[in-house]
């Protein structure tokens, strides 16, 4: 299946042709999204629809724009062209009185962004807070949860990631794998509809990757969470994802089920990349 490429990548509320095989509104939609750093085009008129509950793995050579895609969806990068929608609503844009899309104000941005959670390569825990505080902070301050309720939620999630005995520890006292599991619990505590995983095992020693991937695997099985994952772990992508996108030069060069993409890649670039990865491992 090929994503329809919009010829003009302009800002327009008509978001590409209808896709009869997916009649429902996607949970995440990139339409003609372009991001440039000076001369360099990192996202090049990208189109991508992700359905609710779908697990999408994004693979590709470094510098191909994979992480930028997630970061744009988390509003950590501003996009230059196109529209990103989350759960049917434009993220960085909003309709004005006449229905035209204009730049979103802070309120709109915060409301739509609340649907998305992210886990980073470098964990980014708050070093001055205990594990429990790390997970409680945003639910209390952002969602306005009572402390007792936030505490309960934090302990529940930390138990789910297997860290119920580390509640009072500080991040520096934990291994990388443990820190990353706290970061997952912290993101989940905000009850996002979409979770983004940005190379979450890349900073970990190989023997610690498993514990993190297991948590993500369980998460995928237990919840109807929409997940986008940038990863170098081809084995995990193959087993976990519903769909794998191969990213090259700011676009999705090829995509399909793990079986299609890994076993019968159609594009030369994809084959080259996969064989390079196989040689390396």
């Amino acid at each position: 299946m090929n994503t329809p490429v919009q010829p003009d990548g302009t800002l327009s509320p008509t978001l590409g042709p209808e896709q009869p095989e997916q009649p429902e509104q996607p949970m995440v939609r990139f339409a003609g999204v372009t991001k440039r750093y000076g001369e360099l085009t990192v996202l090049d008129g990208l189109d991508l629809d992700v359905q609710e509950g779908e697990k999408v793995a994004i693979i590709g050579p470094s510098g191909s724009g994979k992480s930028t895609l997630l970061r744009a969806l988390m509003t950590l990068e501003e996009i230059d062209e196109g529209v990103i929608e989350v759960d049917g609503e434009p993220l960085t844009h909003m309709p004005d009185a006449s229905g035209r899309l204009v730049r979103a104000n802070t309120r709109h941005l915060r409301r739509v962004r609340g649907n998305v959670g992210m886990v980073f390569q470098s964990f980014n825990l708050f070093p001055h807070m205990s594990v429990r505080q790390n997970v409680m902070e945003a639910p209390v301050q952002v969602l306005g949860l009572a402390k007792s309720e936030a505490r309960e939620r934090a302990e529940e999630l930390l138990a789910m990631v297997g860290l119920e005995d580390k509640l009072e520890h500080f991040p520096a006292q934990l291994s990388g794998g443990q820190q990353q599991r706290v970061a997952i619990a912290r993101a989940l505590a905000m009850r996002p509809k979409v979770m983004l995983f940005d190379e979450v095992t890349s900073a970990l020693d190989p023997e610690l990757c498993g514990e993190v991937l297991n948590v993500i695997r369980r998460l995928g099985e237990a919840h109807n969470l929409t997940m986008l994952m940038v990863t170098h772990q081809m084995g995990f992508a193959r087993e976990f994802a519903d769909r794998v996108c191969f990213f090259h030069q700011g676009r999705i060069h090829e995509q399909g089920t793990p079986d299609e993409l890994f076993n019968q890649p159609r594009e030369d670039r994809t084959r080259e990349f996969l064989s390079a990865v196989n040689e390396a491992s």
Binding site: M74, T75, L76, R110, R113, G114, V116, G117, M118, F120, S122, N124, L125, F126, P127, H128, E137, A138, Q141, V142, F170, A172, Q173, R186, A187, M190
Partner: protein
């Protein structure tokens, strides 16, 4: 040669002690305002809103580039022409507070710059408001490393309070000069003033160190 007159020194000691309390009070009050105001200036300077960041940057550079003495003169002798009458003590405290707020703002800026960008990305991903992010996440990490620098400014402020004698604030230096002009003896009052500053500075330095130690995270 005029040797140190101990009975005279003892006689003027209570008056100097009294004035040293004024010095300490002015320094603490000025510092208290400066550390709070400086923080707001630092955060305002980092704002992406240029209508906010540019005037603050200008103010900081202006105040840091002009002498404290001229600033307190301005507050005390010029502002009344425009209908703002400040007492010498008010003008002195405000002058010191403003002056040092601009210095502490630069200290805070260094501390804020040292907090990794990734922490900002984490608070964005958790949808936190900027104010909450500053209060709960960014400032606690930014402040600890800059506490010693802030403490040094408390001691600088203390040592700058004699400037206020120029606008008739009766702090310790003004009192010593008065004693000198009454008795024609300057050796004892000025020596004592030096000693007082030494003791006060060492005392404050000790307090700052204690505070730093208490702020060490429990790990």
């Amino acid at each position: 040669m005029n040797f140190f007159d101990w009975p005279f020194a003892l006689e003027i000691l209570p008056r100097l002690l009294d004035a040293s309390l004024a010095t300490l009070g002015i320094a603490l009050a000025g510092f208290a305002i400066a550390v709070v105001l400086g923080l707001f200036l630092a955060i305002g300077r980092r704002s992406r809103q240029r209508w906010l960041s540019w005037p603050i940057t200008g103010l900081i550079e202006f105040i840091r580039s002009t002498p404290l003495l001229i600033q307190v003169y301005f507050l005390f002798y010029v502002l009344p022409n425009y209908g703002l009458q400040l007492s010498a003590l008010q003008a002195g405290i405000i002058g010191i507070a403003l002056h040092y707020a601009c210095y502490t703002a630069e200290v805070y800026r260094a501390g804020l710059d040292a907090v990794p960008r990734a922490q900002w990305e984490a608070v964005t991903a958790l949808n936190m408001r900027p104010w909450t992010a500053y209060r709960d996440v960014i400032l606690p990490q930014a402040l600890r490393p800059v506490l010693p620098a802030l403490g040094n400014y408390l001691i600088s402020i203390l040592k700058d309070t004699p400037v206020l004698s120029a606008i008739t604030v009766v702090e310790i230096m003004q009192r010593a000069k008065n004693i000198g002009s009454e008795s024609f003896r300057y050796l004892e009052p000025i020596t004592l003033v030096g000693l007082f500053f030494l003791i006060l500075s060492l005392g404050l330095a000790w307090c700052v160190r204690r505070l730093e130690n208490r702020m060490e995270p429990a790990r």
